[in-house]
């Protein structure tokens, strides 16, 4: 949801549906490389990460690749904190993103909905 705020701050338009739809262009620079690196990393597909990383380094530079992996690894941890504590959205985020959560499919991850779905 912070991607929306980034777009507002930079007057750029990002396709938020690209967060949950794998075939859409996000509008973020090097978005395809970021997506490949992130997906392989979070799925623990280290073979693919090892193949993609040097290619991405050619396109983006080593420092940016390392920094993208730095962010991905951090969120692989913090999503677990959120999911394991059932932490609610901040009220301002909840109010500002109701429609976006529906259109992107993020609403299906709501903790109450998960409890109904899985028990």
């Amino acid at each position: 949801m912070l991607l929306r705020a980034s777009g507002e701050q930079t007057d750029k338009t990002y396709d938020l549906n690209s967060v949950t739809s794998e075939n859409l262009d996000s509008g973020v620079e090097h978005g395809d490389w970021l997506r490949k690196l992130t997906e392989a990393t979070i799925r623990g597909d280290w073979l693919t990460v090892g193949e993609v990383r040097p290619q991405a380094e050619v396109e983006m530079g080593t420092q940016k690749v390392v920094d993208a992996l730095t962010v991905a690894s951090a969120f692989n941890g913090i999503t677990r904190v959120a999911d394991a504590t059932g932490i609610p959205l901040d009220s301002t985020t909840a109010e500002a993103t109701t429609e976006m959560r529906d259109t992107t499919g993020i609403q299906q991850f709501d903790y109450g909905a998960k409890t109904e779905r899985y028990g």
Partner: protein, 229 residues
């Protein structure tokens, strides 16, 4: 923990070393031995056949079986750690209630902090092609049982840090709920955010990638892990 040739920031490397050192010692509710066992248990979850079967089931409650584990932790704790590590997107309130019938909420929070911190460190190591670092050697000592009696019900499953909220220019409160989530056990909160903080910032991110690129990566991780927050 990291070879010198990698372009990682010094504060990140120092934070990871500090986290490893902190996990090795006694926490507030777990011994150093137990905390290091939590790291190992989280790692073994990745090759646990039962976890794989459950991850692929339509519902996590649709399958039964036993975890592949060498852990000396309580089986309920082993299951908790394996689920947080391999299937975090399908944790539910009723599951949490079952777990906290066996362990206290304080123990639960401390375990979450250790798992999540080790996930960050292991993920970065693996992504950089380093393989996971050796687990730290546990140190002796007794947990001191320190929790935060001022933690409040903020709508989460656990009591969270009480704060006076003001709006920041990020459009979020100055202390977002996620930063309050582990507030029941201050040392757990400090462990996790000490590990996390050098990786990310809500604005003016101190990395070579733009804020939008960082948010895109973060959002993809959240989607893959089916995280609502």
């Amino acid at each position: 923990m990291y070879p010198d040739h990698l372009p990682l920031r010094e504060n990140l490397k120092e934070a990871h070393s500090a986290a490893w050192d902190a996990i090795a010692g006694p926490g507030d509710f777990l011994t150093g031995n137990a905390r290091v066992d939590v790291i190992q248990t989280a790692r073994e979850a990745l090759t646990c056949a039962f976890c794989d079967k459950r991850k692929n089931a339509l519902s996590p409650n649709a399958v039964t079986g036993e975890h592949e584990t060498d852990s000396e932790l309580d089986p309920v704790v082993v299951d908790m750690i394996h689920r947080i590590r391999t299937d975090p997107g399908r944790l539910t309130r009723s599951w949490f209630d079952e777990v906290t019938r066996v362990i206290s909420k304080e123990e639960y929070v401390e375990i979450v902090a250790v798992v999540a911190s080790s996930v960050i460190i292991d993920t970065l190591h693996n992504a950089l092609g380093l393989g996971v670092p050796p687990a730290p050697l546990p140190r002796r000592g007794r947990p001191d049982g320190q929790s935060n009696p001022a933690a409040v019900d903020g709508g989460a499953w656990v009591p969270i840090l009480a704060v006076n909220q003001e709006m920041a220019d990020t459009g979020l409160p100055n202390v977002p709920n996620i930063a309050r989530a582990l507030g029941l056990v201050p040392n757990a909160l400090n462990l996790f955010f000490g590990t996390f903080r050098p990786h990310y910032a809500l604005k003016d991110i101190p990395l070579s990638i733009s804020q939008a690129q960082a948010e895109f990566v973060a959002a993809r991780v959240s989607a893959i892990n089916e995280c609502f927050y």
